[in-house]
Amino acid sequence: MKFTLKILKDFPAYLWSGWGAIASILLFIALWDMGNQIYGNLVLPSPLETFQTLIAMLGDESVIAEIKTTLYRASIGFGISLVVGTTFGLLAGFFATASMMSRPIVTILVGMPPIAWIVLAMIWFGMGDETVIFTVIVASFPIIFVGSLQGTRTLDGDLKEMARSFKLPWHMKFFDVYFPHIFSYVFPAWVSGLGMAWKIVVMAELLATSDGIGASLAVARSQLDTPTALALVVIMISSLMFVEYIILEPIKREVELWRS
């Protein structure tokens, strides 16, 4: 509770520190507009046109439904990865054999290109939700698993000994000694896992489904509707930026205040 309040209290100062970021985004948009003036509307629509299309799209219920579909798939996939990845990572971290055995498997999972997973998933599950969700899980699971494994493996033996010398009860051992350390590894892994999930969900949709943002992107491509394609990209990026900079980053800052 105290923690949440502190995050909220520091939030305005955090936002205020974002002017530099906003300036750089505006500069990027200026470059984009320059690109439009050089290459013309078909190749690169102007930012103005893109944002106008975007606003029109956001007023359209069918587009909102597509966004919701994508959001649903990404959250289910990411949610499963988060729970399963964190749990297995912790378990593997506590047992030396398990962490040794899991390493090559993680390498395989990380090394396998997501596009290959999509093809396999299309064969296994057909065209639909399952294929997309499966791909999202497979892509974000190893990131979260490794983060959680590292967190557990790197627990400081000296601190464990200190905890034992003060005869800390198990709940204090967990919440005061283990948890903050593990969390400082797991949380960044969740953030990168989320980024990965959000990218993969669109890619999988583009190839394997007929609805969602990815599918809309495929339609825009076939109709050479560049403004719509770009507007969709803007939706993707701005939603990711919102989650990352407005929600996760302030939490991360508070959580990692103790780090040097």
Binding site: E161, M162, S165, F166, M172, V177, P180, W258, R259
Partner: protein
């Protein structure tokens, strides 16, 4: 009567013999030092006595009602501020949060920390300050027995004296018993009622020295004189010089 009694204690790590046939008794209100060269098994002995390692052969019976441990390095929790670090032992002993914080603040001030430091994380403290916090954490629980694992070795002379005089005051009030591990003979002479000399490979006790003068009456002269005397002891020479070779 509270005491720590070690009988016929042997210890191995794998096939390496670390400690052989250790015997001693530490009574309430006493300060017992174990001196010896580094790598001689001193820390292992301390860990066995404190229950951080399991005794395999022989026994180490601790009947003191409470104990705490001050390590060579501070071992503070990096994600907790100064006060929360000090309060850790109190909370573990079941003290109410508010009382624990209050006691911690009080002892922090006694140990030369300032109110500005209370909310700092260990990363923002100097090495000496960290050691103060670590000491405060060990002493705030008012332990009946204190285990000290060379806690002064990384400190400058001023801070070393300051922390030692806090201990000496507690010793002269008979508030505390101490099992003290060090390789610094002068430190041992300043604080101890009894010094055990631990020779390495495997660690075994070769000699015992006793000091009767009350700790708060030992001045520098006394410590220097006794150190000079002890340094001429044959066992001391062989035990420590073996290391140099």
């Amino acid at each position: 009567m509270e005491k720590l009694e070690v009988k016929n204690l042997n210890h191995h790590f794998g096939f390496t013999e670390i400690l052989r046939d250790i015997n001693f008794t530490l009574n309430k209100g006493q300060v017992l030092s174990v001196v010896g060269p580094s790598g001689g098994g001193k820390t292992t002995l301390l860990h066995l006595c404190a229950g951080l390692l399991d005794v395999e052969e022989g026994s180490a019976t601790n009947t003191f009602v409470s104990s705490s441990f001050a390590f060579q390095d501070a071992r503070l929790l990096p994600w907790k501020n100064v006060i929360d670090n000090i309060a850790l032992g109190l909370l573990a002993a079941g003290e109410k949060k508010r009382v624990a914080i209050e006691k911690s603040k009080k002892i922090a001030l006694e140990f030369g920390l300032e109110e500005d430091d209370f909310d700092k994380f260990p990363k923002d403290l100097s090495g000496g300050m960290r050691q103060r916090v670590s000491f405060a954490r060990a002493l705030v629980v008012k332990p009946s027995l204190l285990f000290l694992d060379e806690p002064f070795s990384a400190l400058d002379i001023g801070l070393k004296k300051e922390l030692q005089s806090i201990l000496i005051e507690m010793i002269s009030k008979k508030e505390i018993s101490i099992l003290f591990i060090t390789h610094d003979l002068m430190e041992a002479i300043r604080l101890s009622d009894e010094i055990l000399l631990l020779k390495a490979d495997p660690g075994h006790i070769v000699k015992k020295f006793s000091y009767d003068l009350a700790q708060n009456q030992r001045d520098d002269e006394y410590v220097y004189a006794q150190s000079a005397k002890i340094l001429q002891d044959k066992e001391i020479i062989t035990t420590f010089e073996l290391e140099i070779k």
